[in-house]
Symmetry: C2
Subunit: 304 residues, 2 copies
């Protein structure tokens, strides 16, 4: 499988100037100048947990496997440069499946200027596993971390939340462009991408920042899919609950000082809607405020 794939990829893949050595050797070589810093992230997707091969076009699976990595780079406000792709393919139809996965991955890679510089393609008795490692470089403002949120900072979020299970968890747009623009033009204190769910990822961020957070329930941007789920399904979850706890929104959550948040909201530097959904607090813990008052907010999202 592998040699064939490498030959095919060498033809298919545009290699950027920063790729000093692409697929086909024992390792690839990437040039990181002018910054000597390399931002690295890895995500592994498995059959049955992240997708069902029976139900989904493999191209969407391949796209997602790369997109979740780009979302992680966006969360660091890093410019994506390259990726390596490791596949555990089922014995039966492995090569065709690999091509289908790449068919979904390559347009996204091209869109974001990501070179696929290497990989490892194996077959085995088990089901499909994809593990992609993506490399990027920080902007001059430096990487955006989880740990910089300060009490009084406001919580901004891109897009709308909840119900991604209806399809958006495959076809979401990683917020790379937004992160790069926002981090280079404004002072962002901290950031994270919403992969495990707003309530869970916000908990991660406040833990790293040693603070707490209060969400304003009426300000949460609820996705149409979250409303749809609340109506369709009989699980007793409201649209707001879907927006608070559903995983895989892959939107950006940012901590920004109030005056800077106001400047962002006024200047609208990105096309995607940005919403102010709460504030960081000195007191630890997560809280949510609705018309009846403030209540503790449980983290009910995805825990690995």
């Amino acid at each position: 499988v592998e040699l064939e794939l490498i030959d095919w990829l060498r033809q298919e893949l545009p290699q950027h100037a920063d790729v000093l050595l692409g697929p086909g050797d024992d390792a690839a070589v990437l040039r990181l100048a002018p910054s000597p810093a390399c931002v690295v992230t890895v995500d592994l997707l498995t059959e049955g947990v992240d997708f069902l091969l029976d139900e989904v076009d493999p191209a969407r699976i391949g796209r997602k496997a790369l997109a979740v990595n780009l979302s992680d780079l966006a969360a660091m406000a890093a410019e994506p440069l390259a990726a390596v792709v490791a596949l555990a393919l089922p014995e039966e139809g492995g090569m065709q499946l690999a091509r289908q996965l790449y068919a979904g991955m390559l347009p996204l890679a091209q869109q974001y200027g990501v070179s696929i510089i290497g990989g490892d393609t194996n077959r085995w008795q088990g089901s499909l596993v994809l593990s992609i490692t993506a490399l990027g470089r920080p902007t001059v403002a430096g990487p955006l971390r989880r740990s910089g949120a300060q009490p009084g900072d406001e919580i901004l979020v891109t897009g709308s939340l909840g119900g991604s299970i209806l399809g958006r968890h495959f076809d979401f747009e990683p917020r790379v462009a937004e992160a790069l623009i926002l981090n280079s033009r404004y002072q962002l204190h901290a950031g994270i991408d919403l992969s495990d769910g707003l309530s869970t990822d916000l908990a991660h961020l406040v833990q790293e920042s040693n603070c707490g957070a209060l969400l304003w329930s009426e300000q949460i941007p609820i996705a149409a899919a979250a409303r749809q789920l609340a109506v369709q399904h009989d699980d007793g979850c409201s649209a707001l609950e879907h927006a608070l706890h559903d995983g895989e929104d892959f939107e950006l959550l940012l901590a920004v000082a109030p005056h800077e948040a106001q400047r962002i909201l006024d200047e609208k530097p990105v096309e995607v809607p940005l919403t102010r959904i709460g504030v960081f607090t000195a007191a630890p813990g997560l809280w949510i405020q609705d018309h009846t008052g403030q209540h503790p907010l449980e983290s009910k999202g995805w825990e690995h």
Copy 2:
């Protein structure tokens, strides 16, 4: 699993000065100065193909998963810096297994100054899959490629070959130190690590170098394990055949001009034995010479 593991790893892992940001954020940040070049390799190991969990201590599996990557970096003569570790763990006993895998990985990481800077740890219904991506930096001599062998160059190999299935494929020493010393003190034209078997990896190298190669059968360093296999097993393979075709030796094969090869053999700059086993030829193809003459050499190693 993941948060617990990250907490544990943060305590266990020595973080080097080049690690600007370790595990726990959306991505890690590695500093690559003084060279802006980053050497990247990924290897994925699966239950049933690369190991059998029933038969092998998971610590040896964890060690191997990192060691194969270090061997790839050695093949590029790159100094290992960091790695990210993606695990697909079986539901049952996943966390304990992860700790055992890391228990084998961490001493090797420490030995070679490799920081584990990130990972993704998931559980699923399937068997164990490990995918490690390793990052390194080239020496001032630049990365050692597969494509530089010239007709007339001699073929040097480290260690002895064959029979790794008896245990060495888990416990081999990646030839990192040897590669760094040899590539910084001598002019090496090309290199590869022997993962698929001498006859197969040599074929890869001559293909990239647009040349051929002739091996001298009496010079091939045959491992004791290859002799043991030839005696024990009734597959009709001689010890030489095991040395020629068995996979996972993880020794280095180098292309070096004759005078430089002589200098290396005279000066013995590394402890591991180095053997001159043949020459590269202008005519394509692989050949082997024994006391009866020259014969075509088939690539019978592992093909992905």
